[in-house]
């Protein structure tokens, strides 16, 4: 009876390795490493050029820590603003049916495509002291946004929000909507369904969006300097400090950039896998 022969032939010889440690296919590994190299190599270039000897002295310069703190504060606040407004917007784009939805989705990308300086000008045109809304805000509430720390947050939020909206919309579209149906049959309205079912299911997408948003806000320069000006301690974030350093001293600019990078990489590397993994 030939059975045993054929079945034996069908069983491949096992390799000496264990589960969880499965080989990564070369076709994936090679481009992935290439991509990683491409992203990280320029950083090495910067590191190679960094004036290591003068580093301690530069770091202790008074303006640097202030700018760094301001950067982290404003980027975090901007991310909060983006999450608060952006997640509902993403939900609207992914779940509600309305005419012109495709146009709205495309409009969301406007701040991405707009050169940031022009974005800053546009913000000035709207929220500036002579702007469409700004004038009213000023006379009614005595509220001026440009050239204030709030203005920095606003500029960063404007530039960074599309990242959040689009990443979260992608996650929402990828999610299984049948859980939302199940929630509805249990008496959950759309709002409760959103908070109790939809949101927890797309946590990885929101985390990804928030990371993008935060990092983009942290690196934001053009819109900020245009809308909020470049006042040390008030609106001068690290990228603005880097810009000024570039005027005089390339190496100083590199050092400042590296400081910003190190801090942000350290913070992002501290994020637990747990927070960005779906249940």
């Amino acid at each position: 009876m030939p059975v045993t022969d054929t079945t034996e032939a069908a069983v491949p010889a096992p390799r000496r390795r264990r589960a969880g440690n499965r080989r990564v296919p070369t076709a994936l590994l090679v481009p992935a490493l290439l991509g990683l190299t491409f992203l990280v190599l320029p950083l090495l270039g910067l590191l190679a050029r960094a004036p290591w000897t003068t580093l301690p002295q530069r770091l202790t310069e008074p303006g640097v820590l202030t700018a760094l703190r301001l950067s982290l504060q404003t980027a975090t606040l901007a991310t909060l603003v983006c999450v608060t407004l952006g997640v509902p917007l993403a939900w609207l784009l992914a779940r509600a049916e309305f005419p012109g939805r495709r146009l709205v989705r495309a409009l969301v990308t406007v701040p991405l495509v707009l050169p940031p300086v022009v974005g800053g000008v546009a913000l000035l045109l709207v929220f500036g002291r002579r702007g469409l809304l700004g004038e009213w805000l000023d006379t009614t509430f005595g509220l001026t946004l440009p050239f204030t720390t709030t203005g920095v947050v606003l500029a960063e939020a404007f530039v960074a929000m599309p990242f959040l909206v689009i990443a979260v919309e992608g996650a929402l579209r990828g999610a299984d909507t049948r859980y939302e149906e199940a929630a509805a049959t249990l008496g959950a309205g759309r709002w409760t369904t959103f908070t109790h079912v939809t949101l927890p299911l797309v946590v990885p997408g929101i985390a990804a969006g928030a990371v993008l948003c935060w990092a983009r806000a942290l690196g934001e320069f053009g819109a900020t300097i245009t809308f909020a000006g470049n006042y040390p301690g008030r609106t001068q974030t690290m990228p603005l400090a880097v810009y000024l350093a570039l005027e005089t001293d390339l190496q100083a600019a590199i050092v400042l950039s590296l400081v910003l990078l190190t801090v942000s990489v350290a913070i992002l590397a501290g994020l637990r896998d747990r927070w960005i993994t779906s249940p």
Binding site: A183, A184, G187, A188, G189, V197, P200
Partner: protein, 358 residues
Amino acid sequence: MDHQSVTEPLLDAHLVAGRGAFHLDVHLHIDVGEVVALLGPNGAGKTTALRALAGLDPLAAGHLTLAGVDLDRPDHRRWTPPERRPIGVVFQDYLLFPHLSTLDNVAFGPRRRGADRRTARAHAHTWLTRVGLAEQARRRPRQLSGGQAQRVALARALAVDPTLLLLDEPLAALDARTRLDTRAELQRHLGDHRGATLLVTHDPLDALVLADRLVIIEHGRVVQEGDAATITAQPRTDYVARLVGLNLHRGHGDGHSVRVGDLTLTAADRVDGDAFVAFAPSAVALHATRPDGSPRNTWPAVIVGVQRHGDNLRVQLGGPVTAAADITPAAAAHLRLAPGQAVWAAVKAAETRAYPVG
């Protein structure tokens, strides 16, 4: 019981809905406290009907009235969203929330219906205990076995005590013993339940034990409806006949004779015009040669297949009429059954029932 509830069923629905090329068109009525089993072959439209009742898909036409209130009536442009319907659903694929613990899954409904956190959890705990899963309360759905997940889904739907309860194969994944227990628990609950229940199942036993009335749909249409006794005695389609385990044929009656194809069968009942004849596989006897004893209905048949069936063997017969016969292993050994073999089949007229079509 007040007047209205006597004359009007709690649920009065005419469901017309489409899913792709499939069209559903069924009338459903369920009284207060009544349990109706919805049966039908795979793809008959049972889940589609449940989705329409729950409000997950809107009706294309018809109406859906629960306790006198129109929940869906397209021609009046009325529609109530699922979360505002007093309806509970057990889904065929459970759909437990993957991010919530078992306990919070069950507490989800009570919370939404206004219970505070502690009350909802206590209530959920009671229900988990009833379905025997109190120990798994802290687990995530991914950490449950299939049968455990199904019981959680059942507890989740029952915990809200809805006016209309929709159960889509709520016991399919349970092991024989848990099935008995859960079925008993469900029976107890449904006995107390003052709303209406619609139970989709493929298990005739579930239907017989739990339901007061059976509605059978095929291809999106109701093909038979009634209490278990009637349906068991007088199946009207092949599906129902198989479900209740009878051989069914359609023919033309003339007194006690019913002509089925080339064969004339004699039945216990009188019937004239288009008629069904039904007989149990166990009523069919097989003989190597033409029998000349009492059975009035005999015909030459060919054995198509043989399967074990409980303690007996079930023999599939071809010939002028296709039929199944249950015989003991001893009889089988005597006959030396094998596919392709020719035999004589015999059924007593007393065991052959006839009833009119339509």
